[in-house]
Point group: C2
Chain length 507, copies 2
Amino acid sequence: MMQAMSDSRNQTDSLGRLKRLDREIHLLEHVAGLLQWDQETCMPPAGIDERADQLALLEGEVHARRTTAEMGDLIGAAESRSDLTELDRALVRELRRGYDRATRLPGDLVRAMARQSSVNHATWVEARTKSDFSIFRADLEHTLKLTREKADCLGFEDTRYDPLLDEFEPWMTTAELRGVLDALRAPLVDLLQRITGSGVRLDDSVLHRDYDVAAQRAFSDYLLEALGFSAQTGRLDVSAHPFSTTLGAADGRLTTRFYPNLLSASIFGTIHECGHGLHGLGVAPELATTELGDGTSLGICESQSRFWENLIARRRAFWEHFYPELQPRFPALADVGLDQFHQAVNAVQPSLIRVEADEVTYNLHILLRFGLERRLVDGEIEVADLPEAWREESRELLGIVPEQDADGVLQDIHWSMFLVGYFPTYSLGNLYSAQFHAAMARDIGDWEEQVRRGEFAHILGWLRDRIHRHGRVYSATDICRQVTGEPLNARYFLDYLEGKFGELYRL
Amino acid sequence: MMQAMSDSRNQTDSLGRLKRLDREIHLLEHVAGLLQWDQETCMPPAGIDERADQLALLEGEVHARRTTAEMGDLIGAAESRSDLTELDRALVRELRRGYDRATRLPGDLVRAMARQSSVNHATWVEARTKSDFSIFRADLEHTLKLTREKADCLGFEDTRYDPLLDEFEPWMTTAELRGVLDALRAPLVDLLQRITGSGVRLDDSVLHRDYDVAAQRAFSDYLLEALGFSAQTGRLDVSAHPFSTTLGAADGRLTTRFYPNLLSASIFGTIHECGHGLHGLGVAPELATTELGDGTSLGICESQSRFWENLIARRRAFWEHFYPELQPRFPALADVGLDQFHQAVNAVQPSLIRVEADEVTYNLHILLRFGLERRLVDGEIEVADLPEAWREESRELLGIVPEQDADGVLQDIHWSMFLVGYFPTYSLGNLYSAQFHAAMARDIGDWEEQVRRGEFAHILGWLRDRIHRHGRVYSATDICRQVTGEPLNARYFLDYLEGKFGELYRL
């Protein structure tokens, strides 16, 4: 009896210790998040040198805690218990995943990747500026070599792409991913051809008139309040590349950018990041600042930004409420009616640059990148083949071909940063968002009426209850089944596009 | 020979290790500084709970490094060497001082002070709001008890006030301090009486007209550039209580506040913090982010803010250049001439509140506080005697008596935060600033002409070379002797006041 009690106390102590270590890790990660947020929004330019050292030190503190032998022992001890709550089991599962990933990579490889990443930044920028792939080629080859080594260290059964994808979309296999994304390809290409062949052109030139930046800022703030993103728990700033970061259980930071000649960038950029922010702040308080405190995968995270940006805010019902609020703020909109504005923000046009793409063509850009990076990792093509392969795929998918590599293979920063396996999560986000939206529409009968009245509390509550509050307790696959009753299925997204653009382009 | 080489290498290694630990400490302190800066300027209100935990974790990391046995051994090893450079000797001296101070305080006492500090905040705020000293009395008594314990742990020869003062004004004794401040008392009281009896009244009501906040902000930015505080290495934000913090070798943050009905607060607040910021950014790069990277004492730090705020920017020559720039920005100044403005920003008036005091009465507020806190620590008076003692001293020094304790003994937050020994550094700053200014005036013959032309590079260069770049290499006492050729002497400050206010008040 004494023995049992003592064991039990030791077990409780060791789980408590594990949780304290875990909390320290996430407090430190939030601190590092603040440093990065500050670097992008506030820091004076000359602060960069020391900031890099501050971040490296914090990352070292996090890494040390994640990989210490004590952490391994504590996880092992917790795994051997049969009396854990569901939440504790999920915590231990995710800590094990992080521990294994972190300890399987040798320090030399981690340092080699960090060095190469730093070198890449300079050569990629130069290559893109001069639109000369040969400047970046050797570094990308070395990056691919190190990426393969990384995959080998992490281990895999089927393909080296599996452990790379798993970094961003945990527990999903390449085979599953291909199954879902392959189903997109032919219908999307077909839809795009029907749109470009429809004879209908939606005119988005009104978005490029003069829009006062201060008035755009005020409208972004207004939108955030309306969507339920409160100034009590978050704020909006300006950065070169919009992002969202959660710096604490009740501290969400969004950024956007304002162009004096492009109204849509700030509106939809703000709403996109707001979707991320609401997700981050919606995690249950007891999970925040733990290994379960983030979104469960990048696909799920992106589903929340896309849900608000596209499924809600590019809808006519949304602008029935907000356009009367928007129009008087900008003289440039004086002669623009609601329908004209709604069409402008939904114009479809094949273009070379992913980040400027519309809802129909965006995923074609992703299919292109996913196909190339998977074949690179699997050795089916070589780095030297990339520019030509890019052009071929671009012709096939989008019907247009970049004349220069700056608009093709050199346009994205991701590969230079070892972000291989990241691109497909953008498409997964689009697919999840449509499938979640369909489930929400079943549960909330008058959801569109609510949008038309500018009321989002019910919809946000639904997302919080079904998705946000769970953090990483469930995998993306499990969340999808729980929320929608079936595995991820591209049909919902395709149905959504057909319905919306079929009407707009009179297909 | 081999032995000697090996020793030498070990010594070099151990000094290198000491410096790496020291750098980590200061990187972490800069990170903590960013968290505090963000808390005051940007953080959404609900972020406060987790922010407190983030800061506590970082402070724990710093404390652990400062007090580890390895740190003690490394300092001891460095102290035993005879071949250190002057900079390394100074570094080891300051690390020893910090190590001894940190290791002499038992963890229980540190925690008890932290708890009491937290309790104090609530009771002090309530006591001040209700102007009822009895609400705060018991907590202040306990605070005093813990403060005495702290002094006993730190050790002292003469008075318990010595180790408390040493926290903020290192290497200065209470006896030295009393010598300097006692010399201020009679001449200041006399000057104030001559001013109030002069029959001259300088009218500062023009400063209380309507001043557009955005225009105040723009003028503050303009002033910062003009004074040499570059947006490349720093920025200005808004906070409830203005402060300056250096977050890296090239990252200085200032805050100020803007009142729509008080122009002087933003102008002189900005210039004051700019003085701190220029000091922080002027430290030699090889000292920044080391134990030698801050100002050598709070008195020296305050001398730099006061130098710019008072010795330069309340001078007529300064406004000969800047008033033509200021006046057209604000309709409220249309009928205000240069002399009228210069008089308004130099009006002397005994008042109850320290933070609103002018150059003449400010130090009387400090003499009052210093006398009371020294007598409290030495047991010459009790906490219960404070309100009455405050009134007596106020009558004696300022000629006015607070009707309520909110305007008397409850007005400052310092004692509630265990900041005993801090107040006198404000006066030391004023004295140092005048003594430095006199030395600068000897070295730069046409300095006032330069101010009249709005040129500050020469003056700033003088401060950087004589003071800023040295960080904490020299003690305040040594810096003062090096720069001015003599120890701190209240005469320079008194001469400055006599000259300026003698003219303004026609004494």
